[in-house]
Structure formats: C-alpha cells, structure tokens
C-alpha cells in the first residue's frame, strides 16, 4: 500500500511563528504536492515538486515556501504564520507514468490552527 505520512495531525501555533509541516512518501514517487483544504473552497494547490530540489508554485503560494532535499520528503514552510493560514493541509504524492501524474495519493492531513 502507498503510504503518505504527515508529521502532525494537529498543530497549534502563534502568529508570527515559523511553521514546518513535513511529508514523507514511501513509494518512490517523482511528484509531491501540498494543498490546503478549506470548507467551500475545496483543495487548493500551494506548491508542488517534480524532482529533488525542484519546485513549482501552485495557485496560492503566497506566505508559503517548500523544500525537497530528498525524493521521499517534501516540507511546507510558513515563514511567519498568520491567522488566515489556519486550515487543513494535505500532502500528496504521485508517480510519473506516461509522462504525467494522474493519480495522487494523499496523507491524512495536518489541521493547523494559528492563534
């Protein structure tokens, strides 16, 4: 079974803190993704990575950065957390097949609250 794990299920941080969300996948997938999920807005892509040390901005990258130093690990960083970043954060990974990634495998999510 594909496994995508996220370092925390629940996290509470203060405004202005630097926050690290870690994601690890065990299936040697090339592509990894970070989404945030908010009621009524669905899943919105923050950043994705198609290779080690490579990253691409998604639809809502402002206030976030990412790091991918190893193939299996993709980190999301909130440089200075703000209350509007309170959300559910989902990590996903997917294999490159036929030149595309059609299936994504999601972790259980991290519910981040910024006070």
């Amino acid at each position: 079974d594909v496994k995508v794990t996220q370092s925390s299920r629940y996290l509470v941080k203060r405004t202005g803190e630097k926050v690290f969300l870690e994601c690890v996948q065990d299936m040697d997938h090339e592509n990894m993704f970070w989404y945030r999920q908010d009621p009524g807005l669905g899943l919105r892509l923050i950043y994705f990575s198609y290779d080690v040390k490579m990253k691409e901005k998604g639809d809502i990258p402002e206030g976030y950065s990412v790091s991918r130093e190893k193939k299996e690990r993709f980190s999301l960083i909130l440089e200075s957390a703000s209350t509007n970043q309170t959300s559910m954060y989902l990590c996903a990974s997917g294999p490159l097949a036929g030149g595309r990634t059609d299936t994504q495998y999601f972790g259980p999510g991290t519910r981040l609250t910024v006070l």
Binding site: R44, R100, D102, Q104, G109
Partner: protein
C-alpha cells in the same frame, strides 16, 4: 478557465437511493477526470476516473457519466449506503503543464439509514 465547478455543496440521500454529483469545466484541454472520496479524518482517495474518449465508466455502484460537448461530468452512486457518507471531489487535469489536478469545491454526502 482552470476552474471545475461542482454541485451541490451538500446532499442527503436515503439508503438505497441514487446520489448524483455534477461537475462542469471550461478548459477543453482537460483530458482526465477523476473523482476523489474523503472520509472524516482521512485524506482524499481516488475513487474512479474517466478519459473523454468514453461517455461512461462504471465500477461497482459508482458510475461516471461524461458529456464532452456540454463539458460536464457527473458521479452516480447507485444503491447508496451509509458507508458512502463522505465528501466527494471531482477534478480535472491536462497533458501539459505538469498535469496539475484542478479540484472542485467538494460535495458532502450523507446517506441516511
């Protein structure tokens, strides 16, 4: 043009009934349309997917109907069960541009016993 519009936002169906969730898109470059199912406390998981060369795909009680000319696709859950209660997301992707998945806003389905 990158959006996928999903409706309804929530749905209550009696056990044994048919659940129908609809999605519409504008970008004709989309060529892959998956549905993801998410249970509370879990991440979304791929349920079923279709490509535009067919108009329907069925897997057990789950069917995707695809209307290329109308740029619409829908998920039908036959004989809905309480265990189907979850949030469902439609999505779309295209060959170009890293094949990002564009997700709909989700439908919360409740199947009453």
């Amino acid at each position: 043009q990158q959006q996928v519009k999903q409706s309804p936002q929530s749905l209550i169906v009696q056990k044994g009934g048919i659940s129908i969730i609809n999605c519409a898109y504008e970008n004709t470059a989309f060529d892959y349309f998956p549905w993801y199912q998410q249970f509370p406390g879990k991440g979304p998981a791929l349920l079923i997917a279709i490509r535009p060369d067919v108009s329907e795909k069925k897997e057990g009680r789950f069917t995707i109907s695809f209307n290329k000319s109308a740029k619409q696709f829908s998920l039908h859950i036959m004989d809905s069960q309480p265990g189907d209660s979850a949030t469902y997301f439609c999505a779309a992707s295209m060959k170009e541009g890293f094949q990002k998945l564009v997700f709909g806003t989700g439908t919360r389905l409740l199947v009453s016993p």
